[in-house]
């Protein structure tokens, strides 16, 4: 029975085509331009496999040979965050963007909140610098064995685990109307990591340092404008706006403590 259904399906799909409209850019300084591609449809294809098809046969919709489209990807299962791009207007991972679920033509563009290196390749350095700035780690090194740290309550561990799913993919920064050339706002991802490491029983020992970095300079937590796009866009379902509001509470308390307790 399986054979009788698969035969007509393959003949049907052989004729089907998928149209891609890709925003390209040759290097960091050059102007972006649009190039269209007309690709053969294959069942279960996603945006990455479509880009692989272009790489195999770099011919655009007009039939001209072109340079293959550059992109980045690693895990192909939405956990590494490398293949984030804007697909039909929404920032998301290309690996989990299934062609069957997308409206055609499929418009693919780089997340231009970040510097575009080439085509769909972007430079997410600012996110990693942000993690360094807020000290998104737990210091456990000493000159002698510090012994085991305090235990984390299971209930706390459960919600903290959700925050640890962040893969620094940059979708929340692309979705945020306050992350742009006119502001220095650090973005939702790093803020949520501050909440994560401030919740950890050992990380908590440096909680004030992390809060202080969010209250200094012009890139701190005050940059949030409450559009709440980040929490809608996050592919891992991280409660980013709850993290930001919780940190608003922590920084407010810290502000009063600094004023009245010193």
């Amino acid at each position: 029975m399986a054979e009788t259904t698969t035969v007509p399906q393959t003949t049907q799909t052989a004729a089907r085509r998928v149209k891609f409209v890709i925003t390209r850019q040759d290097n960091m300084e050059s102007k972006p331009y649009i190039e269209e591609f007309d690709l053969p449809y294959r069942p279960g294809m996603n945006v990455i496999s479509a880009l692989m098809e272009i790489q195999r046969n770099p011919v655009n919709a007009e039939g001209g040979t072109t340079a293959p489209v550059c992109w980045e990807s690693n895990c192909l299962e939405e956990v590494c965050g490398a293949c984030s791009m804007v697909i039909n207007g929404k920032p998301r991972q290309a690996c989990s963007a299934l062609v069957d679920q997308l409206e055609q033509p499929i418009r693919v563009a780089p997340m231009s909140t970040f510097p575009v290196v080439r085509d769909l390749v972007i430079d997410r350095s600012r996110m990693f610098n942000a993690l360094k700035k807020v000290k998104a780690w737990i210091p456990i090194d000493g000159t002698y064995d510090l012994g085991p740290g305090p235990r984390m309550p299971e209930k706390k561990r459960q919600w903290a685990y959700e925050l640890s799913k962040c893969m620094t993919c940059g979708v929340c920064l692309e979705a945020c109307p306050n992350v742009n050339d006119k502001t220095d706002f650090i973005g939702p991802a790093a803020l949520s990591q501050v909440r994560l490491f401030n919740a950890h029983p050992t990380g908590e020992m440096n909680a004030d340092d992390r809060l202080d970095t969010l209250m200094e300079g012009t890139d701190g937590i005050e940059g949030c404008g409450n559009s709440q796009n980040c929490v809608r866009a996050c592919p891992k379902g991280i409660p980013l706006t709850t993290s930001i509001a919780e940190l608003n509470k922590q920084t407010t308390k810290r502000m009063f403590k600094r004023w009245f307790a010193q």
């Binding site: 207007g89 929404k90 979705a175 109307p177 306050n178 742009n180 006119k182 502001t183 969010l214 209250m215 200094e216 300079g217 012009t218 701190g220 937590i221 005050e222 949030c224 404008g225 409450n226 559009s227 709440q228 796009n229 809608r232 866009a233 409660p239 706006t241 709850t242 509001a245 919780e246 940190l247 608003n248 509470k249 922590q250 920084t251 407010t252 308390k253 502000m255």
Partner: protein, 222 residues
């Protein structure tokens, strides 16, 4: 002046004193609907009988308004709205908060100029204010400007209270933020209603007894 503390001052001034003053303003104006010409005059007089009224105005209205307004324009300038791709209620409110802030800024500058500043110049007295308002709101253009300006201001106020609760870490979770948004929208309706009743009351014949004002007004801002 940028950064965390400037934004915190901006946020605090929006609530105290500006939101409180807006509510007070709505209640004073409501006297025009409730008590007519005499009631409105009485409400205006009781305000101006407050001790050190000039300093109250300076420190609780003008200076906070100046800081909140100018810093707010900077915040609005920094925004890069994307409601095309994220068509959600919260994102719309983000945009409307900035648009209504700019509209409110223009409206309030004009409104202070055309009322409080004219009193300082001596073109109108406190007792004549009702008639002065009547002359303005009976002209369709000014009336529409008043309606738009008032709605922008009250929306900015109500949504701003919601945002204050988030940015000071009072409403943290999604449920708390949803419930506070219902309360704030209730506040929007209530305060808008008070202002609307007074605006329509000012259009009444009862306030039309200072005809000479209209000529002064027209030469000044017409």
């Amino acid at each position: 002046m940028k950064g965390y503390y400037a934004r915190k001052v901006h946020s605090l001034l929006g609530l105290v004193p500006l939101s409180l003053f807006l509510i007070e303003h709505a209640i004073t104006n409501y006297a025009a609907f409730d008590g007519g010409q005499a009631g409105f005059q009485k409400a205006v007089r009781s305000l101006n009988d407050l001790p050190l009224v000039f300093f109250l105005e300076l420190f609780f209205i003008w200076l906070p308004l100046l800081f909140h307004g100018v810093y707010g324009l900077y915040i609005a300038y920094q925004a890069q709205p994307n409601i095309g791709h994220f068509n959600t209620e919260r994102n719309w409110r983000y945009v409307l908060q900035r648009v209504s802030g700019v509209v409110a800024f223009v409206f309030i500058v004009w409104h202070v100029y055309s009322t409080r500043f004219q009193i300082s110049l001596g073109n109108v007295t406190h007792d004549e204010l009702g008639g002065w308002m009547h002359d303005m709101v009976t002209q369709p253009g000014y009336f529409v400007f008043f309606l738009v300006g008032v709605i922008a201001t009250t929306f900015h106020f109500a949504n701003g209270v919601w945002a204050f609760l988030v940015s000071w870490g009072i409403t943290v979770g999604p449920r708390a933020q949803r419930i506070s948004s219902y309360i704030c929208m209730g506040l929007f309706v209530a305060v808008t209603a008070l202002f609307m009743l007074s605006l329509f009351a000012f259009r009444g014949e009862e306030f039309a007894n200072t005809a000479s004002v209209v000529t002064t007004l027209k030469t000044l801002i017409g």
